[in-house]
Amino acid sequence: MSEVNATTSLAGEEAVGFSPFRRGWMKLLRNRAAVFGGLLILAYLFTALTAPVLSPGDPSAPNLMASLERPSWKHPLGTDELGRSILGRILYGSRVSLLIAIGVVAVGLLVGVPLGLVSGYYGGKIDFFIQRITDMLLAFPGFLLALALVAILGVGLKNTVISIGISMVPIYIRLVRGCVLAVREQVYVEAARALGTKDVTILRRHILPNVLVPIIVQTSLGMGTAILFAAGLGFLGVGVQPPTPEWGAMLGSGRAYIFNAPHVATFPGLAIFLAVLGFNLLGDGLRDALDPRARG
C-alpha cells in the first residue's frame, strides 16, 4: 500500500503551484482507501464522544436475568455473561480505547521526539547514551516490552498507557534522530548557526518542521498499534480491569462462552479491528500523500 498509484501521482502533478500541504491534502482525498480509513476514524470518534447519548444507563450494571442472550431488537449485539448489553459496552469501550490511544501517543511524542532531536542534533556522548538505552528497549519486540513494563508497574488503565507509551518511545527516537541527521548538515542550518541562532530555536524553527511528516504518519499508525496493544493486554487480563468496558477485556471474558455464546467474543473484536483498520488506512494514505519517498 505504500506505493503512490497512478491516479494519486497524477493528482500531485496537477496540483503544482499549491503549497506542499495543500497538494498532500488533495492527494489524500483522491486516495479512496485513505478516505475510507478517515471515515472509520470519524465514526469511532463520534461513538466515543456520544456514547452516553447513544446508550443511556450504566454500561457496567449487571442484569443477571438477561445473561448471554443472543442478538435481539432490545440488545442488537446480544448480552454478556452478566446480562449487560454488548452494544452499549462496545460504545463505551470506544471512549476507553480512544483515551488510551491518545495517552500512549502523547507519551511517545513527548518523550521520544525531544530525545530524538537532542540525540541527532548534538551527537557525541549524549547521542551514544540515548542510543544505548534505545537499543536496550528495542531488544524486545513492542508488545513484549509493553507486557514486561506492565509486569513491573502493575495492571490498570494508567499503567497500560504508560507501558505501551514507553514501548513506543524508541520508535519515535529512532525516527526523529534519523531525520535530524539528514537535515543537520544542510546549508540553511549551518547559516542559522553562523548567525548565532540559539540551538533551541534552530531545533524548533529549522529542524522540527522537517521531521513533522514522518511524525504525523507514525502517529496515525501508532494510534492503531496502541489500540491493538491495549486490547491485547486487556485480553490477557493485565490491562484495564473489569468492570470498565474495555474491548480486549470483553473479548477475554467472552472466551469462556465461546461454545454456547460466540457472539460475546465476536463483536468487541470487530470493533477493535475496524478502529485499527481506520488508523492504518489513514496512516498509509498520509505517507503516500505527504512523503512519497518513504517506502516499506
Binding site: 500500500m1 505504500s2 506505493e3 498509484n5 497512478a6 482507501a33 544505548r132 537499543d135 536496550m136 531488544a139 524486545f140 519486540p141 513492542g142 508488545f143 513484549l144 507486557l147 514486561a148 506492565v150 509486569a151 513491573i152 502493575g154 492503531g224 491493538l228 486490547a231 491485547g232 485480553f235 490477557l236 487480563g237 493485565v238 480486549g248 473479548l251 467472552g254 472466551r255 465461546i258 461454545f259 460466540p262 467474543a265 465476536t266 468487541p268 473484536g269 470487530l270 477493535i272 479491528f273 485499527v276 483498520l277 492504518n280 488506512l281 498509509d284 517506502r295 516499506g296
Partner: protein, 306 residues
C-alpha cells in the same frame, strides 16, 4: 565468519546485562512485598521474615544483584515463587512448545506471504494485487487473539474438525500456528511486494527480458534474488513480533508455552519467573537477529563479515 559470530555473541552480553539490571532494579522498586505474597495473608511476621531471608531480600540491593548474576552464570534463575520449581526448569519445559509454534508459523507465513507478494508485484494494480494488498492490510489490523477465537468458532464449534485448545496430536497445532502465521504473513507479503516492485524496474531486469529469457526465470533468478535482503530483514523482525503474538495465541488456545508462563507469572506476581522469562525472550530475539545477519551473507555475497 566464525570470528564474526563470536564477536556478535559477545556484543549481546552488555545488552542482556543492561536488561537484567533494569529488570532487577525495577522489580525491586515495586510496591508490594514478594515475601508477603509468598507467605500468604495468614502468615505471621516471623514467617515472612524467614522467607525474606531465604530469598535473600534482606541483603543490600547491589549484593542481591551480584548474587543474581553469579547464579545466572550457572544458569540458575532462582525458584518460582508460585510453584517452588527452579525457574530454568519450568522455562526449559515450555520453550520447545513456543519454538515449535513460532517455527511453524514463520514457515507458513513465508510459504504464503512471499509468493503472494511476488504475484502482486508482477501484476501491479491488477485485481490480484488489490486482493493481496487489501488482505495484507486486514491481517495487520486484525487482533490476533480475535482471529484465533473466530477460528475456534468455525473449526471447533461449528464444524468440529479441530480441537479448541490444548496439546497432544498434530490436530492441536493447526489452529494456533495458523493464527500466529496470519499475524506475520501480511507484513511479509507487503515487504515482498514493495521490494520486488523496486527490483523489477531495474535495468538488469529489462536487459534480462530483452535477452529473451523466460519470464519465470527473470522473476526468480534476476529479481527475487536481489529483492531478498529486505524480505529476510522483515522475516527476522517479524519473528520478534511473533514472540509477542505467541503470548496472545497461547492464551487463546491454552497452549503450554513461554507466553502463557509469563502471563500467569505476572498475574501471580511471581517475580523470579517474570525475570527469567523476560530474559529468555530477550535472548531469543537477539539470537534470531544474529541468525538473520548471517543469512544476509549467504544470500548476498557482497556482504562479508571480517
Amino acid at each position: 565468519m566464525f570470528q564474526y559470530v563470536i564477536k556478535r555473541l559477545i556484543s549481546t552480553v552488555p545488552v542482556l546485562l543492561g536488561i537484567s539490571l533494569l529488570l532487577f532494579v525495577m522489580l525491586r522498586m515495586l510496591p508490594g512485598d514478594p515475601a508477603q505474597v509468598l507467605a500468604g495473608q495468614m502468615a505471621t511476621p516471623e514467617e515472612v521474615e524467614v522467607i525474606r531471608h531465604q530469598l535473600g531480600l534482606d541483603r543490600p540491593i547491589h549484593v542481591q544483584y551480584a548474587l543474581f548474576l553469579a547464579r545466572l552464570a550457572h544458569l540458575d534463575l532462582g525458584r518460582s515463587a508460585r510453584t517452588q520449581n527452579p525457574v530454568i526448569q519450568e522455562i526449559w519445559a515450555r520453550l520447545p512448545n513456543t519454538v515449535l509454534l513460532a517455527v511453524l508459523a514463520i514457515s507458513l507465513a513465508c510459504l504464503f506471504g512471499i509468493p503472494a507478494g511476488i504475484v502482486a508485484a508482477v501484476r501491479p494494480n491488477s485485481w490480484i494485487d488489490y486482493l493481496v494488498t487489501s488482505s495484507a492490510l486486514v491481517g495487520i489490523s486484525m487482533p490476533v487473539f480475535w482471529l484465533g477465537l473466530m477460528l475456534v468458532v468455525v473449526f471447533s464449534v461449528l464444524l468440529q474438525w479441530l480441537p479448541a485448545g490444548g496439546t497432544g496430536s498434530w490436530k492441536h497445532v493447526v489452529l494456533p500456528s495458523l493464527t500466529l502465521a496470519s499475524f506475520v504473513v501480511a507484513f511479509i507479503a507487503r515487504m515482498t511486494r514493495s521490494s520486488m516492485l523496486e527490483v523489477l524496474s531495474q535495468d538488469y531486469v529489462t536487459t534480462a527480458r530483452a535477452k529473451g529469457l523466460k519470464e519465470l526465470w527473470v522473476i526468480t533468478k534476476h529479481a527475487l534474488k536481489n529483492a531478498l535482503i529486505p524480505i529476510i530483514t522483515v522475516v527476522g523482525l517479524q519473528f520478534g513480533m511473533l514472540l509477542g503474538g505467541a503470548v496472545l495465541t497461547e492464551t487463546v488456545f491454552a497452549w503450554p508455552g513461554l507466553g502463557r508462563l509469563i502471563v500467569d507469572s505476572i498475574l501471580a506476581r511471581d517475580y523470579p519467573m517474570i525475570q527469567g522469562t523476560i530474559l529468555v525472550f530477550g535472548l531469543l530475539y537477539i539470537l534470531v537477529n544474529l541468525v538473520v545477519d548471517l543469512i544476509y551473507a549467504v544470500v548476498d555475497p557482497r556482504i562479508r563479515y571480517e
